[in-house]
Symmetry: C2
Subunit: 318 residues, 2 copies
């Protein structure tokens, strides 16, 4: 465990232009002004680059990523570059698994200690029985999606390197359901925010079509999540996995109600059984005692505040 409460040297964020990457770079800029933050991403699109040193770099191209690592000489890496588009299986494995291999192989050329936080997902747990909740890090991993599989491959590649290379300190962060402004509409809260806004503006009074809304999930605000990543980089034990979640279960129907109440209470909700997913467990919540004990982190933003802030930010954009 690091004694200090800060970052020494250079901090690299991969996938800095992504959802979590943007929040993390802002957070580090604000909370750790002494840190020299670098970011890489496959493109510069939609990046506000004022606060970070940016290098355009492709994680799937080993020579390219090796050059970037050699130039940046990072002391801490937040590896957030990844994809969750299950429509392109090759890309899932190429980016999430082989991209991680490229990154870690490139770091072995640096002759100094490097702390590396790998952004994984609760998807590695796969099927969760009701009695297994809240899920502990020791639960047997058993993904039921290619996304979960590719993230598990990422974790195992990290474990291989952590065991083999004395100078790499690998920390695995398993994030539960992220929520926040800017989340992809491929993920539930992002989809709800988008659809409910659209329905509210529509002339026709169409209902919101939903799947099984009795399932219970653990939503964690992205602002709490990036704070957890920073504290893991500083305080976590190497070769360990940590859950990042709120520790609280919320029914999907309650999340929907929060959005509708804040946007347009007249929107009707219609259950469509075609939207039910066979492999969806009834309940998945995080046991967060490990990250609390090892880093002092705790979630601070309640779900209704997350929803309220998303709506506010959407309205400001319009």
């Amino acid at each position: 465990m690091k004694k200090s409460n800060s970052f020494s040297g250079r901090v690299l964020i991969t996938g800095v232009g992504g959802f979590s990457g943007k929040y993390l770079s802002s957070y580090l800029h604000k909370e750790y002004p002494e840190a020299e933050v670098w970011g890489i991403d496959i493109s510069e699109q939609s990046l506000s680059l004022s606060s970070i040193n940016f290098i355009r770099s492709d994680i799937t191209d080993y020579d390219n990523i090796k050059r970037a690592i050699a130039r940046i000489q990072p002391d801490t890496i937040f590896h957030l570059a990844g994809t969750f588009d299950c429509g392109n299986l090759m890309s899932l494995y190429q980016v999430n698994a082989i991209g991680t291999e490229h990154l870690l192989r490139a770091t072995t050329c640096l002759s100094k200690k490097i702390r590396i936080v790998l952004a994984s997902s609760a998807a590695v747990y796969g099927t969760v029985l009701p009695k297994e909740n809240p899920v502990k890090e020791e639960k047997k991993v058993s993904p039921v999606s290619h996304y979960g599989l590719s993230k598990l491959a990422m974790e195992m590649i990290g474990t291989m390197y952590g065991q083999r290379e004395n100078n790499l300190e690998i920390i695995i962060a398993r994030t539960f359901n992220l929520i926040g402004y800017g989340l992809s509409p491929l993920l539930l809260p992002g989809k709800l925010a988008k659809e409910i806004q659209e329905l509210s503006k529509s002339q026709e009074r169409k209902p919101l079509k939903v799947g099984n809304t009795n399932t219970i999930r653990d939503f964690i605000d992205v602002r709490d999540a990036v704070k957890a990543l920073a504290l893991l980089a500083i305080h976590a034990k190497e070769n360990n996995a940590y859950n990042i979640g709120s520790g609280v279960g919320n029914k999907i129907k309650d999340l929907i109600k929060l959005f509708i109440d804040k946007v347009d209470p007249d929107i009707e909700v219609l259950t469509d059984r075609n939207l039910f997913k066979k492999s969806d467990p009834d309940i998945v919540t995080a046991d967060i005692s490990k990250i609390k004990n090892h880093t002092g982190w705790k979630p601070e933003i309640k779900l209704d505040k997350s929803v309220l802030d998303i709506i506010k930010l959407i309205n400001r954009q319009v």
Copy 2:
């Protein structure tokens, strides 16, 4: 568990032109003449096609594999198509993981029960502590190579389909170190057979360079292994993994001695520390009580006979 002791309907072997595929097709032809055996492979090279119905098919091309499955209408599938070339990471995941996804997705279009044996590997276990031997199927999987990772991805894809699709009965076969005539020189016994033959014929008296020969491995003759695959297809419990090994540990140095004694006892053995591998466990042997109990299979060919038969067949070729 099937009551019968045979195969009903059509049997498909993927990767039929590979090492195990050739032995399995010959074995089924001889021992189960009532079975209608089909084979697919990416090429027809080096196939003797007299005993099987062959369709050229590429497991990495979903439309292609779907057409083949629709035409063959298999009742039993031995999925042996795979690659172990760690020099091409993309190909490892594309063939072993995504290829399996393609095959299983294609089978969901058939409206009948299908038994599917997936050829996995002891590599999914990863690091094995001395006290964990002989390795049981329940041991926590934790690959330390991309090959092991890609095979674990294959297993998990099989598990996903097995849980989701009522008509698919998935059986996982984890084979330990195969030995037999025709084995790739990328794998140890194939490499030894090749190198020792070459040294024996060479004019110069060069020594055989070897790595750590005190490691203990479980070698299983490919003829015993394909018999195990056949019995698993008939008798195994679905959604179960089975070790296929001899249950016996042999030091690498003893395997080398067997080869040298039979080819040319004058060959000198030289230990080269550069050939030692960091992540090689000292001992890995299979617990084979599960496959014995569930199928009645037991290994019958001793290691010295495997070696003798390889030498005989090589000499016949010369």
